[in-house]
Symmetry: C2
Subunit: 165 residues, 2 copies
């Protein structure tokens, strides 16, 4: 089981955008520079976040991205779902119906007990991520950061954030 | 996020092996036939289950596979870990250390709050699967199966299980 790097990048992106002053935006290249990741690949994650309604975008010279929702109502599950989709990670191919002793349709009114157990586990996983709003992530970062780093981040944002048209 | 078909096959394999009479084994081809899956690919899952100490194998004419552990002490997490490995699905690349405002090593004594949240979610996922012993899966299948199907399964096992040397 593997979650792509895109989720990590998207989560850091949203945490940074949550720090923008109201009415401002951050260009894709500046975001990529802040995170130290390649801009063309981050652009894909930004597109996915935009499609999911998590970030909003504005084109042009003063263009850029900003959070389209309040950070306290955006969870790590929202970000993960935007990037990885919501298809279940365990896809039941109904093995129970195959072979010489396969179950009849009447015996398969409920999900296969194996698939059901994976569904419950995945629901637990999603619930745990849904319980972490972006504000918790930011609070966690703030706890670990020195005041010098917090100041550097504030200065960097002030330098790179553009007013939205 | 995606779990391979191998996990589904391995779980069904173990559930079937749990029904074998003591001292008997089932050939890989017979197992594949019962599940209606291609034998060469199932052989890979059987190898992985064997490496993990979940099944035992015996070569030769009367060769085959059997459960190496009691079904009540084998969980769906054991089976999943044997096939997919135990590497975390979210792999933190320490984005927080990169870029113009990257955190210093001293600020990174704990895990990144984003990585920590995914670790907690994955622990919940594994815990949910670890709470499902093979005996629960078998009880679930037994609940859905008609007595005619249970008899067919018993007969098939009697016909195909070989005494171990």
């Amino acid at each position: 089981m593997r979650i792509g790097k895109g989720v990590e990048w998207a989560a850091h992106t949203c945490a940074l955008l949550a720090l923008l002053p109201p009415g401002s935006a951050l260009a894709g290249d500046a975001l990529a520079d802040f995170l130290g990741v390649p801009s063309p690949y981050l652009a894909k994650q930004l597109q996915a976040l935009s499609r999911a309604g998590i970030v909003a975008a504005q084109r042009g010279a003063a263009g850029g991205y900003w959070l389209a929702q309040a950070p306290e109502s955006l969870s790590l599950w929202d970000v993960t779902a935007a990037i990885e989709g919501t298809a279940p990670s365990f896809r039941c191919t109904e093995v129970r119906r195959s072979g010489p002793c396969g179950a009849s349709p009447a015996e398969c009114s409920g999900p296969c007990p194996i698939a059901a157990a994976f569904q419950r586990a995945e629901a637990d996983y999603r619930r745990a991520l849904a319980a972490v709003p972006l504000t918790d992530v930011i609070a966690g970062v703030a706890r670990e950061a020195t005041s010098a780093r917090k100041r550097r981040i504030r200065d960097w944002i002030q330098q790179h954030a553009a007013h939205r048209a």
